[in-house]
Amino acid sequence: MAQRFAPGTLLIDRYLIDSYHNAGGMQEVYRCHDISLDRPAVVKTPKDGVKDRRFRRGAEMGARVNHPNIAATYDYYEDEDVTFLVEEFVPGRDLGRRLSSDYYFLDPGLAAHVVHHIARALHEAHRAEICHRDLKPSNVMVSDDASLYTIKLTDFGIAKLAESAIATEMSEWKRDEATLTTSSTLLGAVPYMAPECWSDWKSAGQPMDIWALGCIAYQLLSGNLPFGGGAVAIANVVRAEAAGIVNLQKPATFGTHASTIKLESDIWALVLSCIALDPANRPSAKQVIEACDALCYSSSERMLGEIIEYGIPYDSGVKRKTGRIRNLVSKSADFFHGSEFYGSGIPKVGQKVSYSVYPGAPWDRCSPVLLLR
């Protein structure tokens, strides 16, 4: 599809387009340079490019919330030819891309960190009486470091626009299920959509964001969507609603790591509380924050490394359950125990991992060790 702005385009004498970034369901995203303030920023424009009251309304909603976990809305412009909003540039990629390109799943500590920060953003939005309505990993910007240090919710703007597109597609879907095609806006939202959205999209409110957060938490912990994708997800949610119970399988790795047994059971309880069928039974964003505050997880810095040794046999021939990781930057080699490895199967030499490290002898000790793609 043709991109609306070529690199080098200068918008309203102020925003110089650097590069096309990507396109979501409803919009094109560009990286730009704000000449007036001499800083990087992000330009978003509706795909059809036209002046759109809903796009503007969404920008206004974004502008009403100012929080460290929400990408700031800087500017909005429209005339007969162009419509765009300008947002804080968050170095990094969206969580959806990080998940598909870097991770299989997150260890419970890292997942808790991500959920905690998204919950703070939701709480602030809900406090301002704004419901996101399109919460999904691709609407969460995360920094490119191994600790996922910066987490910012974005696209309140597009959510408003997506909302009416979703409403339209939803009524079409009810008429004919074949309308749920890969190009539809609805498709990206479906895996995170609460059951009440299907019965009454317009009146679904803040609890739908909490449901979506629960789904994201599940996805982080297991690497899978809780109800699957596309039409399967719809069918599964409908089935759960009919049965009056959500039957979610615990992530496969749960129960296999001694050190995170307690964290797993605590965070699992939180996930289930968010994915409650009755919206009235879900916690508020504030309650989710409080539950996260009580989770026992470490937010120590994560580093990138490569497994360079694992399972060297003892003299008896029995293989050790330990190995070594070489830091990709410092090149130092640290020790790890197989029980701290979050991946499928046993660790293998050459695997890329992220890890925290703690003092030990004769080598420092890595924990947890998370397998990367």
Partner: protein, 362 residues
């Protein structure tokens, strides 16, 4: 607005809500409605053209910086000659701190939380190579989300080597070395102002030593613990140090933020001892001590003091990550405890220890 007629026009997207929200010094602040984004913003302009460099410095500092504790900048307005005439910044609707001192005694936590946010702001500035030069209570305000933000960067300068021309800045907040003619601006001066803010947040009046020119000429100011006896000693010490007459004795802003963050999460840690896939013991504010005895392999006592999990007594042959433990050592966030000397091989017992690492939630 006051003063001569402005030499610029406000773009039509803005309508004036309050033409003169504040004025003073060389400029004025108006409250505007941004019709494009349907939100209130502030417009800050310089009336006296001789001080337009001040505005330019502020625009540069705010554009360069991304800190959750510094006000957001949205737009600059140019005059007919293309010079910067004013800037549009975030309108803060939360509380101010002018009368905070009346709450401080009742709520030491809120007091430290405020200081933590101020220290984090200064630390972010200094990391970006900016000295604020005018940190004072009047320049702190909360956003609607209750996050403290620092504003008024009119005097800010790049760190290092910058000479003061005319000693601008507010006197009581000015560090003693600023009273020397031609003083060089340093980050330590912001740290001194942090210490003065700590006093302004704690007490209705200044200790007389701080009001001398130069400050503390007659003697060093008394400890902040005199105003707030309930303050933890390590925090009081740090505030006192930030007011050192010798700038080299003042702690860096990042140290201030780190220690305040630590104290703010005091008593909210949890420490778990896990053996064979189950938690065998949890330490917290409710249960602060444990004695772990594993057969005749060894004995370990650990106590939670509100900040760390510390070994209080241990027998020979008990290791953390393979290091023999000794009384006084602190257990890491994550470590493996081994009971039994290496020669015992498979007869040794292993217990994992994990502690939470709570963050300050604002």
């Amino acid at each position: 607005m006051n003063g001569p007629a402005p030499t610029f026009e406000l773009p039509s997207r803005y309508s004036v809500l309050d033409a003169n929200l504040a004025s003073g010094g060389f400029g004025s602040v108006a409250k505007l409605q941004d019709r494009f984004l349907d939100r209130a913003v502030l417009f800050k302009t310089i009336i006296d053209a001789d001080h337009s460099d001040q505005l330019l410095r502020e625009v540069r500092a705010l554009s360069r910086l991304r800190s959750r504790h510094v006000v957001d900048i949205y737009d600059v307005i140019q005059d007919r000659n293309g010079q910067i005439a004013g800037m549009v910044i975030e309108y803060l609707t939360g509380r101010d701190y002018s009368s905070f001192h009346s709450e401080a005694a009742k709520n030491a936590y809120a007091y430290m939380r405020t200081l933590y946010q101020l220290a984090a702001a200064i630390s972010d500035l200094h990391a970006a190579g900016i000295v604020h030069r005018d940190i004072k209570l009047e320049n702190l305000k909360d956003s609607a989300a209750g996050i403290l933000k620092l504003f008024d960067f009119g005097l800010s300068s790049p760190t290092g080597g910058y000479q003061t021309v005319n000693n601008r800045g507010t006197y009581v907040y000015a560090a003693p070395e600023l009273f020397v003619k031609g003083a060089t601006i340093t980050p330590e001066m912001d740290v001194y102002a942090f210490g003065v803010c700590a006093w302004a947040l704690a007490a209705p009046t200044w200790p007389t030593e701080l009001c001398e020119r130069p400050p503390q000429s007659s003697s060093k100011v008394c400890s902040i613990s005199k105003a707030l006896p309930q303050l933890p000693t390590e925090i009081a010490n740090l505030i006192d140090l930030s007011l050192s007459v010798d700038p080299r004795e003042r702690p860096p802003a990042s140290d201030l933020a780190t220690l305040l963050a630590k104290v703010l999460v005091r008593n909210s840690h949890r420490g778990n001892f896990i053996e064979s896939n189950r938690s065998i013991y949890e330490l917290s504010q409710q249960k602060t001590g444990v004695k772990l005895t594993i057969g005749n392999l060894g004995e370990l006592r650990v106590a939670y003091d509100g900040l760390v999990f510390r070994v209080t007594a241990v027998s020979v042959g008990v290791y953390a990550n393979n290091v023999q433990l000794a009384a006084g050592m602190v257990l890491h966030d994550s470590c493996v405890l081994t009971f039994g000397q290496p020669a015992l091989g498979a007869q040794r017992q292993f217990v994992s220890f994990f502690s939470s690492h709570p963050e300050v939630v604002l």
